[in-house]
């Protein structure tokens, strides 16, 4: 009986214990008080924002131009390291693999009161792998640190632009399409254990990050490369003080195949690059184009039936007075036909044609060819240039406009205008982004060729192409731009530089240019080369034409353009796919 009592007592105690534990469990799990719950939640809850990677930028053939690469920050816990006697081991490992001196590393490690010190930022795989295999213990921490990487370095630097360390696009396509490229961060609400490590089963919200969209440019890295190389060669020979730029455009579609600007910079080192070097001269450097503008004026005059190519003008033996001011030709000529005015690039001849057209028509022609408005190529910082309205013109303005003075244009505008002549009078909108895709490669937005207007008729365009072809033939001003085996239409441009300090023009300082397209009968590509203030020479035919030729020769081979061109619609990038 005595034992029976003890058993009952034991059973009661055990039951009471279990009941107590059960009650507590039920209390905690089912309905804890607000305060307790808040305290527990605070201690255990963890809110994480997971970064969505930025989209990748490709060229037209899928070559990567910009991407988010995975690097790591190498950090240490000096307190842990010194407590566990790992100091010497870590010091030696870091000295071997990091670009830091022993003294620098020692200074960073020898801070036993600290628990977190960043030793090296954005370490590459090789370094991280080497350190990880050395098993340096828990005192060495590797933190994920994605970084925007530009594997091609300087290639198409001004087109691609860069994103800063905060992941904000700050130039070029990176800036223009920043919102598209930026990923959407993911959110994770979860619970942490006592060591603040995530408890997987505690995840209540887990929204994965959405990567940014991928951008496919119309740029072809190969054409871009030899365009930049040609500019480098120009720079080596003529050292243009104001820089240089070049554009290659597909005349049928308006796609920009290459766009280069000098000086250039390495996108991976944008933070040590002077701001001036980041300027894309192809779109935001406006200048008086000089004689290249004659092609536009004469094309309009022919189109409107004001002149015929056989009409003859007196070029006054090189000097002509109009409105009390003299106008000179660098090569004095007497009587010249319209065709020869183009070929010899006579200022006087062009001025007389413009006068025959009248102010309004000249102004309208310039506007119709797209001068004075941005082309909308899809890059930030494009300059519209200046075409003054007729009411602001002086008496001689029309004669100066005909030779490309008193008007400011950008290189991209000139390319678009010449492409219109090449493309049967259709002015196409230049564009540099081909398509935008999501992370699975599905097109989100596709850009298609867009015709703006037709400033001249197809017959006039054909006639003008033939006139421009004579420029690169014997006796023309642009023979240096001739490409063996191909008929090239081109125009030289030599404009005196404006003296911004004292007004007027600077003596012996020019902006030289050469613009052309080929093959003449079925043009495929339009190329322009511009040099701002070259040293030692100034004429577009001397300074720029040879580099136009250098680009054109390679472009026709790379794009497999036959000498007579493509009679049907020409699709540039696909023909060159997998060439390299």
């Amino acid at each position: 009986m005595q034992y029976k009592g003890r058993v009952i007592l034991t059973a009661t105690v055990v039951t009471a214990l279990f009941a107590g534990l059960g009650t507590r469990l039920a209390f905690l799990h089912l309905k804890p008080s607000g305060n307790t719950l808040a305290r527990i939640e605070r201690a255990r809850k963890m809110e994480l924002e997971i970064r969505g990677p930025r989209g990748t930028v490709f060229d037209c053939n899928g070559h990567i131009l910009a991407l988010d690469a995975g690097t790591k920050h190498i950090c240490v816990d000096p307190k842990y390291i010194s407590r566990h006697g790992d100091l010497q081991k870590v010091l030696e490992a870091f000295e071997k693999h990091l670009p830091l001196s022993r003294t620098e590393i020692w200074k960073l490690l020898n801070q036993p009161e600290k628990q977190y010190v960043r030793v090296h930022c954005f370490a590459r795989d090789q370094v991280v792998d080497a350190l990880q295999t050395m098993k340096l213990g828990r005192g060495v921490i590797f933190e994920d640190a994605p970084v925007r990487e530009y594997p091609k370095g300087v290639l198409a630097a001004h087109v691609i632009g860069f994103a800063n360390q905060e992941g904000q696009g700050s130039a070029g396509i990176e800036q223009r399409l920043n919102t598209m490229l930026q990923g959407t961060p993911g959110i994770r609400s979860t619970l942490a254990d006592g060591r603040r490590r995530e408890i997987y089963s505690g995840r209540t919200v887990d929204i994965p990050p959405v990567p940014g969209k991928n951008i496919y440019l119309t740029i072809d890295q190969q054409i871009q490369y030899f365009t930049e190389k040609a500019l480098d060669n120009l720079n080596e020979k003529y050292k243009p003080r104001g820089g240089a730029c070049a554009i290659v455009q597909d005349v049928r579609t308006g796609k920009i195949l290459a766009m280069a600007s000098l000086p250039t910079y390495n996108l991976n080192r944008y933070n040590i690059t002077p701001a001036e070097w980041m300027r894309n001269r192809a779109i935001n450097f406006v200048y008086e184009p000089g004689s290249t503008m004659k092609a536009v004026i004469i094309a309009s005059a022919l189109d409107q039936g004001i002149v015929r190519q056989s009409d003859v003008y007196d070029c006054e033996k090189g000097i002509w007075y109009y409105g009390g001011r003299s106008l000179r030709d660098s090569h004095p000529e007497g009587l010249l036909s319209v065709a020869d005015i183009v070929k010899k690039s006579s200022n006087i001849g062009a001025a007389k044609i413009a006068l025959q057209m009248g102010d309004e028509k000249v102004y309208r022609s310039l506007r119709d060819f797209g001068f004075g408005t941005i082309t909308g190529v899809g890059l930030p910082g494009e300059d519209a240039g200046i075409v003054w309205p007729v009411n602001k013109w002086s008496k001689i303005s029309i004669t100066r406009l005909a030779m490309g003075h008193e008007v400011l244009v950008s290189t991209i505008q000139l390319v678009a205008a010449f492409s219109a002549i090449a493309n049967d009078g259709k002015l196409m909108k230049p564009y540099i982004v081909d398509r935008i895709t999501d992370e699975h490669g599905k097109a989100v937005k596709e850009f298609t060729p867009e015709m703006i207007r037709t400033p001249i008729k197809p017959e006039t365009a054909k006639q003008m192409r033939r006139l421009l072809a004579r420029v690169t033939q014997s006796g023309g001003t642009g023979t240096g731009g001739a490409v063996p085996g191909y008929m090239v239409a081109g125009k030289t441009g030599t404009a005196q530089k404006v003296d911004l300090k004292n007004g007027g023009y600077l003596k012996n300082r020019y902006i030289a240019s050469f613009i052309g397209f080929l093959p003449v009968e079925n043009p495929a590509v339009c190329i322009i080369v511009v040099a701002d203030d070259p040293v030692g020479a100034g004429y577009g035919g001397t300074v720029c034409a040879p580099y136009f030729k250098e680009i054109a020769e390679q472009a026709v081979r790379y794009l497999r353009i036959p000498p007579e061109g493509f009679p049907t619609e020409y699709i540039a990038p696909q023909t060159a796919q997998n060439f390299f």
């Binding site: 039951t15 059960g22 991407l67 995975g70 594997p151 085996g485």
Partner: protein, 121 residues
């Protein structure tokens, strides 16, 4: 006889039964508790495994991207050229005279011709 009786009594006292209902409750509670703990541990272990796999996937992804980066860098035209030069290979595009264009047979110009002067070969 007295000794034998005493032993008998002792046995009778020990045999007092533990309450059956309570036994079941305790067994159930113990089994439930152990299962709960085991399931918790198992869930945590699985969670841990998933987390490790997530980390591994992130690392592999980062490595893949880095390889893409390296590959893209290697395929830069300037790099090609440097590599060719390093190996003493001087490559250039063929001269116009060296190019022979061949037409499709169904085209009107079916013969090969030299691109420079359009002369049929």
């Amino acid at each position: 006889m007295k000794k034998k009786q005493m032993r008998k009594n002792h046995k009778a006292e020990v045999r007092i039964p533990f309450p059956v209902a309570l036994t079941y409750i305790l067994i159930f509670a113990a089994v439930f508790g152990i299962s709960y703990v085991w399931l918790c541990t198992r869930c945590n272990q699985l969670g841990q495994d998933i987390k490790e796999l997530e980390t591994a996937q992130r690392a592999v992804n980062a490595r893949w991207i880095n390889e893409q980066d390296r590959w893209a860098s290697m395929r830069t035209p300037a790099n090609f050229e440097r590599t060719l030069r390093r190996h003493g290979l001087h490559m250039h595009l063929p001269d116009t005279r060296q190019i022979i264009l061949v037409r499709n047979a169904d085209e009107r110009l079916s013969l090969a011709y030299n691109s420079r002067d359009g002369r049929k070969l």
